[in-house]
């Protein structure tokens, strides 16, 4: 069956009833690709694209609340550099108009472009079901390779991010556009001058580099501490060798990107 609910409540009721037998459908940029390859055939679809509330962006107490189906095209226009840059690097215009922030997070690809940016922003996700809403730090949302804390009846209804961090983002790929990243990195400085470093494509999930962040928290941002932080990042991460690149290259280039981004932050 194909359902096209008009509001979140109806969508949640359907999901509560169908659980794993009902697949949420928004941009289709993951699910329909699998269907085209004969690798997925959901019994039921809950199409979320006609729920207006899920496209909304609200300002609220110095944060931005992005509803679940906000697209990469929308986030690409936000005045938050790391998120905007990450969004603009996704696919081409068509994918950016289709793909949603919730869809991206729920798929939990280790290469998720926006995920690194959101992690650096200390993003929170709001997970909602008929049983109610709960909020989770994004860092606690990713549990393992393509596994998240989403319960079988839950939907990501909001992503909440601060607007007052200073941020940057970069990606390394094999060509100029439409890249699945070899490595993607995001950095941020909070108003309290704490540094955040987040990476995609170097582990089973997008990750934060806590050890490097701790080092910088102790000693501030200087050329020397940046050098040490980069060294720490390089030992913190354990990427795999795959058909995109070898592990040692990924380790090396991660360090280069993190260094450049941190240097940009210092300059700004």
């Amino acid at each position: 069956m194909f359902y096209q609910p008009k509001d979140i409540q109806k969508a949640l009721e359907l999901k509560a009833e169908l659980k794993e037998r009902g697949a949420f459908l928004a941009g289709g940029t993951d699910l329909v690709v699998l269907m085209n390859h004969g690798k997925a055939a959901p019994e039921n679809f809950i199409d979320l694209t006609h729920i207006l509330e899920l496209r909304a962006i609200h300002k609220h107490n110095g944060t931005l609340e992005l509803a679940g189906n906000v697209t990469h095209a929308q986030t690409g226009k936000l005045p938050i550099r790391c998120l905007a840059q990450a969004s603009l690097s996704v696919g081409g215009p068509g994918i950016r108009e289709l793909g949603t922030i919730a869809g991206n997070l729920a798929t939990a690809s280790p290469a998720g472009d926006g995920s690194a940016a959101l992690l650096a922003l200390d993003a929170e996700v709001e997970l909602t079901s008929v049983r109610g809403s709960r909020r989770l730090l994004l860092d606690k949302f990713f549990l393992g390779y393509r596994k998240t804390a989403l319960a079988a009846d839950e939907m990501i209804t909001k992503v909440i991010i601060p607007t007052n961090y200073q941020t940057d983002w970069g990606k390394n790929g094999k060509r100029g556009a439409m890249n699945i990243s070899i490595v993607a990195a995001a950095v941020a400085i909070t108003p309290k001058k704490e540094v955040r470093i987040a990476l995609a494509s170097v582990a089973a999930t997008p990750i934060r580099c806590y050890q490097a962040e701790k080092l910088l928290a102790k000693n501030g941002l200087t050329a020397e501490t940046i050098r040490q932080a980069v060294q720490t990042v390089r030992t913190e991460i354990k990427p795999i060798t795959d058909h995109r690149a070898s592990a040692d290259y990924k380790v090396h280039v991660t360090g280069v990107m993190v260094r450049r981004l941190l240097e940009n932050l210092v300059k700004a």
Partner: protein
């Protein structure tokens, strides 16, 4: 950043005609040839009206799907289709027993079974065809076919294939064949050389990745089997299909739909025989079949990955004296056009350079990887990467400027090339000088915006034999006909695969007969209507089919002038045809339109038709020496220059400037020539920097566009084109060709620039950021 500057008007201004006309061949001012006329099929393509293979489908048709091998190498003990046949909606399931003829195909050797009966040799081998009411049912039925395999050890590398105890992929063994070239005494000259450089280059498996996926339809009405699938050589495909199916040629019609790219990838049989077999079995029914992208990648032949051991010897002053080259060619599972690719690699082993002593050995080795076959460049692309790379190494060793070293050794008019053939008109130096001047080689700057960015300049020169060559019966035929409405019809079996053949044919015919382009109607690629014009490959169509069209048009013009002269009671040698009317040049009021000529001619029993045949006069090679006095009818020259930046921290390469000069003899349609140059360079950039089919255990790991990396608009810079015209006496209006050389020149220029930037050569393609980084580490 500069805007691309090649507008229509500017392309004409760009033509750089040197003073080296042969004199015996005057082209004179022309009305249609040499003009960038709009492409005749462009409106349909821009409005979505044009029908490609998959656009011919209808829900009412039956849909077919093909079952592929689960193993790279296995014996087939049995195929059980009973469960599949029982699935509701399934109309038929075919195996090898249902292929009425030989069940074999292959362009040179018939070594590929249409539906495998005893053995599978790569994962793309086909075992069965399901025909069903919908595609979904056909896909579901594939799962229900039970194949009993006895897996055999797979042979995945050439080393494994050449071991004494290696499993035999084919009964005769794992060597397809060898090619040799012996010119002079290379070992001795090498020993006497002042300086020797040596290296091993490994090129990669490349996919054609044309966008228009293999798709088409077929129907047998009891009298005629009609198959509509895009290929590259309609009439050869027809012969192969006829043999495989046991279908008489007169009862077999092949029609080419519009085609979205080929680049050599449609040269082998794809889905034609599957459709034909299904249509024969289900008389009266229209069967359609389409590939998904992954199926297309997994099944289709690829560019040969080649390992090249190259040794080059020179005198102190840089004069080349000897070259010794060994090519190891991974053929994959079937012969395809491999032996011809091996020959082309060998005959182009020293490219545009004069080397008096050249010994080449080529070995083609079967493996259980994808069969390899034709792809734009056809062996010469891989070779060029090697010879230009070695020239750069030599320049470094000699302490010479790499442009000076090249110029010193370029083939000139009257020189012999590697096959021993004398090239009467060589414009390698002219093309080279043009790009060096454009890039301002003498004043090139290595200043970059940041210390981690290094700049490099690369150059390459191309010398490429046009056509199949070596005595291959590579003829083209065409027919011209004047209709009662005064329209000039041009019939040719040639396939327009996107390169603009339709305009080349129409413009040549229009020019020769003397009619405006709007009065020409090309009729292409239908075996029931059009004569055989050979394949759209080997950069041959403009020269060969263009010549056939020219001859046919010329013959028709003679007939039309005769009719006009006799009707107007004028002397035939005073009659000229221009703008669609015939008139006396001295008294132009004595005239008649082509429509009137058609009417009068028909009444008087004229055919109003003429045939043209062009047979390229080439001579076979001596198989021991690889020498042939006339290997190719003519040669194509070109040169590229590239300026790029290497990010030495990440290995990323950014091309800042790209210049390509090609001598095309005569640009029939200059805008289209530029389109071919830019498209070829783009594919060359893909091959140099990002494209690679990754195979593991005979399985393609990146069959989709997510991971088979094609260049996007961000990856291709402005490609500055210099179109040179030195008319070829044998080509139509002096035209030669342009399809392959732009690709051939690109990889070498880019690798040359990277070497210039970082001081270490890249030995393995593509030069991904990781490979460049590793080369930097090793330095």
């Amino acid at each position: 950043m500069n805007r691309p500057t090649d507008t229509l008007g500017e392309s004409a201004a760009r033509l750089h005609v040197t003073a080296k006309s042969s004199g015996a061949y005057e082209t004179g001012p022309m009305k249609v040839v040499g003009k960038s006329a709009l492409r005749l099929d462009a409106v349909g393509k821009a409005t979505g009206a044009t029908k490609y293979g998959q656009d011919l489908f209808d829900k009412k048709f039956l849909f077919a799907k093909v079952l592929r091998s689960a193993h790279p190498h296995a014996e087939i003990l049995g195929i059980d289709t009973r469960a599949a046949k029982k699935l509701p909606g399934v109309v038929a399931v075919l195996t090898h027993k249902d292929v009425p003829g030989t069940n074999l195909h292959g362009l040179i050797r018939r070594d590929q079974e249409v539906l495998c009966s005893k053995k599978v040799r790569y994962r793309g081998d086909a075992l069965a065809i399901v025909v069903a009411k919908t595609e979904e049912v056909a896909v579901a039925a594939l799962e229900k076919i039970q194949v009993d395999y006895k897996p055999l050890p797979s042979v995945l590398t050439m080393e494994d294939a050449l071991r004494v105890d290696a499993p035999k992929i084919h009964a005769e063994g794992n060597v397809l064949g060898e090619k040799h070239l012996r010119r002079g005494d290379a070992p001795r000259a090498m020993r006497d050389a002042d300086v020797v450089v040596e290296d091993t280059i490994q090129t990669q498996t490349v996919d054609h990745a044309f966008l228009d996926l293999e798709a088409g339809r077929a129907r047998y009405d009891g009298k005629m089997l009609t198959i509509e699938v895009s290929g590259q050589w309609l009439h050869e495909e027809r012969r192969l299909i006829a043999l495989a199916l046991g279908q008489p040629l007169e009862k077999l019609r092949i029609i080419q739909p519009a085609t979205g790219g080929a680049f050599g990838g449609r040269e082998d049989i794809s889905i034609q025989i599957y459709l034909g077999a299904a249509a024969l079995k289900l008389k009266g029914k229209m069967i359609c079949l389409r590939y998904s992208r992954s199926e297309s990648t997994i099944v289709r032949h690829k560019r040969h990955p080649i390992r090249i051991h190259y040794k080059l010897g020179a005198k102190k002053d840089g004069t080349l004296v000897a070259a010794q080259i060994t090519f190891y060619v991974d053929k994959g599972a079937y012969a395809s056009t491999g032996i011809a690719v091996m020959r082309k690699a060998s005959s182009h082993a020293t490219g545009p350079y004069k080397v008096p002593n050249v010994w080449v050995d080529v070995l083609g080795v079967f493996t259980n990887n994808n069969p390899c076959g034709a792809m734009r460049g056809f062996g010469a692309a891989q070779t060029a990467i090697a010879y230009e790379g070695l020239m750069d190494r030599l320049a470094v060793k000699l302490g010479m400027d790499q442009a000076e070293l090249r110029r010193k050794n370029l083939v000139k008019s009257g020189d012999e090339v590697t096959t021993g053939q004398v090239v009467p008109y060589a414009t390698a130096t002219e093309c080279f000088d043009a790009v060096l001047q454009r890039i301002d080689w003498k004043n090139r700057s290595y200043d970059t915006p940041a210390p981690h960015l290094k700049r490099g300049y690369g150059i390459s020169i191309v010398c490429f034999g046009l056509g199949y060559g070596d005595g291959f019966p590579d003829a083209s035929r065409a027919r011209c006909r004047l209709t009662p409405d005064g329209i000039l019809e041009v019939y040719s079996g040639a396939c327009d695969v996107g390169q603009g053949l339709i305009n080349m044919i129409a413009q040549i015919a229009a020019e020769e007969v003397g009619v405006p382009l709007e009065k020409v109607r090309p009729i292409l690629s239908d075996t029931a209507l059009t004569p055989e014009s050979g394949s759209s490959s080997a950069t041959r169509q403009t020269y060969f089919t263009g010549s056939a069209v020219h001859i046919a048009a010329s013959e028709l013009k003679t007939q039309l002038r005769d009719i006009a002269a006799s009707h107007l009671q004028e002397l035939v040698y005073e009659i000229k045809i221009e703008n669609g009317a015939a008139f006396n040049v001295h008294r132009p009021e004595r005239r008649m339109t082509l429509k009137e000529i058609a009417r009068v001619g028909k009444k008087r029993g004229f055919s109003l038709e003429a045939m043209g045949v062009y047979k390229p006069p080439t001579m076979p090679e001596n198989t021991q020496t690889g020498q042939s006095m006339r290997a190719f009818v003519t040669y194509l020259f070109g040169s590229h220059a590239c300026q790029l930046l290497v990010d030495t921290e990440t290995g990323e390469v950014k091309i800042e400037r790209y210049i390509a000069c090609h001598d095309v003899g005569k640009a029939i349609n200059p805008d289209q020539v530029i389109g071919q140059i830019q498209g070829g360079v783009a594919q060359g950039i893909g091959m140099a920097l990002m494209e690679e089919v990754v195979m593991k255990d005979g399985k393609i790991m990146n069959p989709g566009f997510t991971d088979y990396i094609l260049p996007t608009i961000r990856d291709i810079p402005e490609i500055e084109c210099i179109v040179m015209e030195n008319p070829d006496p044998g080509g139509p209006f002096g035209a030669r060709g342009v399809g392959e050389p732009p690709l051939i020149g690109t990889g070498p220029a880019i690798l040359s620039a990277i070497y210039d930037a970082i001081g270490t050569p890249i030995r393995e393609l593509p030069a991904t950021p990781e490979r460049v980084w590793r080369a930097l580490l090793a330095h």
